[in-house]
Amino acid sequence: MDSSQVYVLNSGVQVRRENFGLLFYNYHGLRLYFVPIGDLIDSDFFDGIQTVGSLVEVLHSRKNQPKQWIRARIEQILQLITEKGLIHGESIC
């Protein structure tokens, strides 16, 4: 996964933060997706401003956990949500 990428919501998808993690809503089919990731990723990450690399840095300094572990976890989550058709990655360069 490219660290300089940002992730944005697909058309018709909304997301909000809940105490368990993220709650996605897909207008196409009116479906809900519960993503239990705690406070790892906030909903505004999908505004497409913060890169994956920047998120990893922020979490590393906040949680004092190894960057490699954080990066792997974030990549796993983003891949899962991407496969559900809720988000997609974009390059900002």
Binding site: R16, E18, L30
Partner: protein, 343 residues
Amino acid sequence: MGNRFVERGLSAPVNVTWEVSYACNLSCTHCLSDSGPKRQGELSTAECFQAIDQLAAAKVFQLNIGGGEPFLRPDFLDLMDYAHQKGVVTCISTNGTLIDDDTARRLAKEMVYIQVSLDGATAASNDAIRGKGSFEKVISALDCLRKQHIEVSVNTVLTRKSYPELDDLVVLAAAYGAKLRVSRFRPAGRGKDAWNELNITGEQMIAFSDWLGRHLAVSTGDSFFSLSSEDRRSLGLNMCGACKLTCCLSPQGDIFPCAFLQEPEFRAGKLPEDRFTEIWSHSPVFASFRQLEIKSCESCHRFDMCHGGCPAIAYHMKNRLGVPDPECLVNCVTVRPQRVGVN
């Protein structure tokens, strides 16, 4: 459905049922909100905008709009435009009699779903419940909506009279590019008076549950979650979503657990003067509703599929909450299914 996450409490409902007016140009015999003339105290346009602001700020994803007949409000399309600007999806339930080509053109955009009500597959059966001439107007509305490629469902309230026509309704809806949605009849509003005449029999209920299991494309808006067969388990809820996933905003701005429990004792607050997030998170009415447990159902083998069923039906039929849905498939109906008329 992530029950364990829902049970922990969401920060806001996923959707809010908003009855925008009591005014209606029809007098359906089973109307849950006893609609007719516009009533005193209905929210003004400015108040509606404020209510939408609050719901959007709480990140409510979807408004399920009903009434009364929403299109009787002169400001209705402006309200919908405003909700869409705020990023809120709308699902509009209408009797369809006021939708023409111009209205359909204005509705033709993302973020809009339409549900048009039909309670029979013929003019004779539909109009007996919804009023003379309504069938023809609905067919015309479906035609206008189809031309604009708007996503439409035909909504049928399950009654003794509509039940034998379900297969025909599936075909009729499909002819207009629509899906059939079947809603549960509840003894609220004028439905109380029509209950004994129109509510389906136990035999029909069991057969209907079986029919739903064989018609997975028919949606129910989860009003039949308590009757769902194993085949539909992945399609939606297995518990009442009131105060957990949804709530209701009345034409006068009152907030209730659901559209079928708009009794004074269930009033949790009022928009726009009260803060919606405050009502959702701290209303004693909602807190007590969330703690509702149907203890007598917990040992039932179907408990995991219904959690006691619909509290509104229990309330209206037994005059209290906390008791099993009186139309529970296990305890109330012991006859074998009949498939006559429904394939």
